[in-house]
Amino acid sequence: MAITVRVPTQLRSLTNGVSEVTVNGENVGEALADLGDQFPGLSDRIFDDSGAIRRFVNIFLADEDVRFLDGPQTKVSDSQVISIVPAVAGGAF
């Protein structure tokens, strides 16, 4: 199952500058684990020591925050897009 992950600037030093990576997995966690396998060091940036998504990292599946879905267990389907976005506070004002 081919899923696209969009990588933010802050992580592109680990992806050789690439902004979109194709990964495989049944759910968001598996997809991100595959990303980590392809680019060593990436997983440490996204997950904390307990394996949870770091609190300042937002993961979107098809433009929806996975915290509103099933978190890393959220099922993904073929050709969906996952975005990794640093938390941006503020601005609604």
């Binding site: 300042f56 433009d63 915290r67 938390a87 506070a89 503020g90 601005g91």
Partner: protein
């Protein structure tokens, strides 16, 4: 010259050069400006500030810029008014309102945008951009026009007409996105990755931008005769403003402008329809759960506040509290402030006043405390929230009889 030492990650302490970075590359934690306070102590004084401009730039030594080529419409140095009538209504003896409705585009956002775009120009960034539902959009468009910068302001397509007009009037590009504010914000974070030479004020130059809110503390202390208040009540959206007000008071002491170490209790105000930080406070937990906002206080409607953790921490540490208020209470707060102090606040100001009232009742804000409520946006921006319940006292024909019939009946009924 600049007193900035570096940008430091608030989570892991990693240091970065003072460029257009906003999050730590290692843990994605937000970056905070670190200053050389010893050097600032040697250069700054109450006199040097008093001889500066009547704007936020009188505190430039404590702001993250190098030069003095400011992008400024004159933001800051707004009135701090003694609110005796509102204080009486609420049962407070020493209440003050920081009236930040009187900024150039009508909100405190002019402070942060002025700092962000000044620094953006120093960094060679030519385009000003932001995601916004109103106040920030107004301010970025206006400052960019003044600075002759191109601007791209991203808003949700269903934004109220008034906010479209008050942004579009300044020229620049106004991009309406089919989606809600969180969608716009997420999109802008992704766009910012693709156009690194743009200054997204609340994304890649956010570290500088948010420093502008410290001036809300600097001014209050100066206007109180160089003393800090006992208690402040601050509206909370992302939580950034609250954390910067706290930082501001502490910095004044650190550089020798306050004689006594500030012990300001800091309380936060949220709308019940978007209260992720207040909920965490009430439940006594450390985890802030994102919410889908549903409130008339749209300027505070951030469901996933990235500075929420820090705001929660500061409120707990300083002995303050959080309060959250319903839409009806927000409208009551706007009316109460207008009818006692003659200040017309937007919905966020209603949140602040209504929360203050609640915290007084709960015994958190105490009668004798020198208390400052931050009212950060102008009511003309959100008149639609009041339209259903606010109108003429009476409509009469253009005749003396018509008017005096009304006046006499009013006098009779008031006897």
């Amino acid at each position: 010259m600049s007193y900035v030492k570096s940008l430091t990650c608030k989570e892991c302490g990693q240091n970065y050069e003072a460029k257009a970075y906003h999050v730590c590359e290692f843990c994605f934690g937000p970056l905070e400006v670190s200053y050389d306070y010893d050097a600032i102590s040697r250069s700054i004084s109450r006199e040097s500030i008093a001889s500066g401009p009547l704007s936020i730039w009188r505190y430039r030594d404590l702001l993250p810029v190098e030069g003095s080529d400011y992008v400024s419409l004159g933001a800051g140095f707004t009135p701090l008014v003694r609110a005796e009538r509102l204080g009486r209504a609420l049962g407070l003896d020493d209440l003050w309102i920081k009236n930040d409705t009187l900024n150039p585009t009508g909100s405190f956002k002019d402070r942060v945008v002025s700092v962000a775009l000044t620094r953006a120009r120093e960094l060679g960034l030519k385009v000003a951009a932001c995601a916004s539902t109103g106040n920030l959009a107004n301010s970025v468009a206006a400052h960019a026009a003044w600075a002759n910068m191109d601007s791209y302001v991203f808003v949700p397509a269903n934004l109220e007409r008034a906010k479209i007009i008050t942004t579009a009037i300044y020229g620049g590009n106004l991009i309406a996105i089919d989606g809600n504010y969180d969608d716009v914000n997420r999109l802008c974070a992704e766009i910012a990755s693709e156009v690194p030479d743009w200054a997204f004020v609340n994304v890649n130059v956010r570290t500088y931008y948010s420093e502008g809110s410290k001036t809300l503390a600097f001014e209050v202390a100066e206007q109180l005769g160089w003393q800090s208040p006992d208690h402040v009540v601050v509206p909370v959206a992302s939580g950034s403003q609250l954390t910067k007000i706290h930082k501001g008071f502490n910095e004044l002491y650190r550089v020798g402008l306050l004689d006594k170490e500030p012990k300001v209790r800091i309380s936060g105000a949220q709308a019940a329809g978007c209260s992720p930080v207040a909920s965490a406070f009430d439940q006594g937990v450390d985890v802030i759960r994102p919410v889908k906002p549903d409130t008339i206080a749209k300027s505070l409607a951030i469901g996933n506040p990235a500075d929420g953790y820090y705001a929660l921490d500061i409120v707990r540490k300083t002995g303050g509290a959080f309060g959250s208020v319903s839409d009806d209470e927000i409208l009551d707060g706007i009316r109460l402030l207008a009818r006692t102090e003659g200040i017309f606040a937007e919905t966020a100001g209603g949140v602040t006043i209504a929360t203050l009232a609640k915290l007084v009742k709960a015994g958190v804000v105490q009668k004798g405390e020198k208390t400052v409520a931050y009212v950060t946006g102008n009511g003309l921006k959100t008149v639609e929230a009041l339209a259903p319940t606010t109108g003429p006292t009476i409509t009469v024909g253009p005749s003396l009889d018509g008017f005096f019939d009304f006046l006499n009946s009013q006098r009779r009924s008031s006897k």
